[in-house]
């Protein structure tokens, strides 16, 4: 089970937060995407992520950070996860707080720990490619570097962030010159052509102490508060007891608190990987996972899609028949109580639609 290339002090952290409102109505507050089977594998994205890590790590060295609302569901979905490794945030405070909390708990157990953080909602099929990239990153982390994993881009997508590579240290390892947020389609095409850019897979691997120090440089207050909650949780206190303190924490993504400043300081390295990787962030990316039907419409789920002069994506369930006629690049997501119809181009703005539903008081489908 365990991969000998990983030291006994490698820990994996899975932040399982975020409602994924860009995937509404599939993803809901009460049933976020990571708890759902989006790929038809029979397992949720979280279960897939856990299994991917458990293939080379003992469950004792995998931690999941989630919110109060989902901790029971996570525990049910991951019976192998030790109770002490399910860390519950009193409220969602974005990725820096979640990863810092887990890192802090790990540090209490192992002063030499190396932590890698892995999103709960990414899809990866190539297990061997994933393991070998993480192993290289862990070796780099042991040397004191903060390490990202970059995926060789296979298309000029504007749906992902990119990593600009700098000086090459070995076949697979380069310096990070900069992180670039989701570019325009034109810019993405330039990136792809240059060969100097990788997709940012949002995985960071580093020594636990090194990570907390890096966060402290930009968010010292955050680290102090997180350490208090980590100590309380480890002492068996209910997360809700520190709800007020926790809610004072600044919401900031790990990209802004650690990755970008560290890259600017020349402290980030990237492992160039070529495993397949999909960030199931919106319907445009989700459509890459679907089955291509003969007539240019992709489908996901147990749906009978029939298209006439149409292209796009149809997501459905229960064997429902969905007929699309005369629409190009349409995205149709049908659930029993809510239906979304938009275009691939507009799919990124589903968040706005969800905000509008909240304004209108349609809380039952949020």
């Amino acid at each position: 089970m365990n991969n000998p290339s990983f030291d006994a002090n490698f820990y994996a952290v899975i932040p399982a937060g975020g409602v994924g409102s860009r995937l509404w109505p599939l993803s809901r507050e009460a049933a976020p995407k990571f708890l759902q089977d989006f790929t038809g594998s029979g397992r949720s994205l979280l279960q897939e992520t856990f299994a991917r890590l458990a293939a080379f790590l003992p469950a004792e060295r995998i931690l999941v950070v989630t919110g109060l609302a989902h901790s029971d569901a996570v525990a049910r979905q991951l019976p192998q996860l030790p109770e002490a490794n399910l860390l519950v945030e009193p409220s969602p405070r974005d990725s820096t707080a979640a990863i810092a909390l887990a890192t802090s708990v790990v540090l209490q157990r192992d002063a030499d720990a190396i932590v890698g953080s892995f999103a709960a909602d990414h899809v990866i099929i190539d297990q061997a490619g994933f393991e070998s990239a993480v192993a290289v990153a862990a070796q780099q982390a042991a040397l004191g570097h903060i390490v990202a994993i970059g995926i060789n881009p296979t298309s000029a997508t504007s749906a992902y962030g990119y990593i600009q590579t700098g000086e090459q240290h070995s076949d697979a390892v380069s310096q990070v010159s900069a992180f670039v947020e989701k570019p325009s389609q034109t810019l993405a095409a330039d990136y792809l052509a240059s060969g100097d850019y990788l997709w940012n897979a949002g995985m960071f691997i580093t020594r636990a102490d090194r990570l907390l120090s890096a966060i402290e440089l930009t968010e010292p207050e955050l680290v102090r508060t997180v350490e208090k909650l980590a100590a309380a949780l480890s002492a068996g206190q209910h997360p809700a007891a520190d709800a007020e303190l926790w809610s004072s924490i600044k919401k900031v993504a790990i990209d802004y608190s650690v990755a970008e400043p560290a890259a600017a300081r020349g402290e980030m390295r990237v492992v160039r990987a070529s495993f397949d990787w999909t960030d199931v962030g919106d319907f445009a990316s989700l459509s890459n996972l679907g089955d291509q039907t003969s007539d240019q419409v992709r489908t996901l789920g147990d749906v009978r899609a029939v298209s006439i002069d149409s292209t796009g994506l149809v997501v459905g369930s229960g064997g429902k028949v969905v007929v699309i006629s005369g629409l190009d690049d349409v995205v149709v997501v049908d659930t029993p109580d809510a239906l979304l119809i938009t275009t691939r181009e507009k799919a990124q703005t589903t968040k706005d639609a969800v905000a509008k539903l909240r304004e209108l008081g349609h809380y039952d489908v949020l």
Copy 2:
């Protein structure tokens, strides 16, 4: 109850056939549109049609012609309809056969009968306007004319057929110059501007003997077969007994067997009417019945539609939330087991989609 301007020999015939596949998935083989409440009135289109006629005619003089598959449902929906006035066709043979069958049965009861035929799936709100137009038509029919009812067009729609009027006989009555099938949008605009064209409401009023003679001119075989079934039905025979004979009847619309040839012979008159009238033939016309929401999307049924940068029609049920984003002139029709998404322009081709569903073997949703 009874309008004194109607003679005791005026009979109304309601042909209740036709699956209405252009309204799939609302209209199904097992639940055709005329059996459904399309307007939110609490009554089916057939019940509305019957009530509209029963307001000025005794139930004894209203006849409904329907297929074997729907006769039980029709009887349940119309408990006031005398059993002898529910005529069941062994198989659907289009409108000439249905109307000829009822006319033949009426003639057995009353040699001087005047019959008016009224589609089971049209929507009319202005009861007084309807009654007075039918009364004028009945008077014209008593004089020996074959009479159509034409609606003053209120828009240049290409969804309806038109009647070109000729010599004017009185304020409301003109000669019919010609029937024109659904015209292009441009032609429809010319028709509207000219003032010489009316919408063909598909209602024909004439003496019963005159109607059968007119059909005999174009379809003599059809009349002979229909008269046999009418005699058998009146003698109490089950309609299925004559299934084979009946299935030999030519399928032809009354427009082709009677209206157009009679117009060409100069034998048709039209009553110009101004009551509201909607032929719920497809989703483009159905959208005229919907509620206009503030953001340019019309809705029909118990549906919570939310639109962003979109226009069109949403039909739903069960309080389902439907979000449309970035689509113009879209038609969305959601039912528990089937969903149609098309454009207003393509709505006329829903028939083709239904044909494709049959090809693919999705019989459960036909």
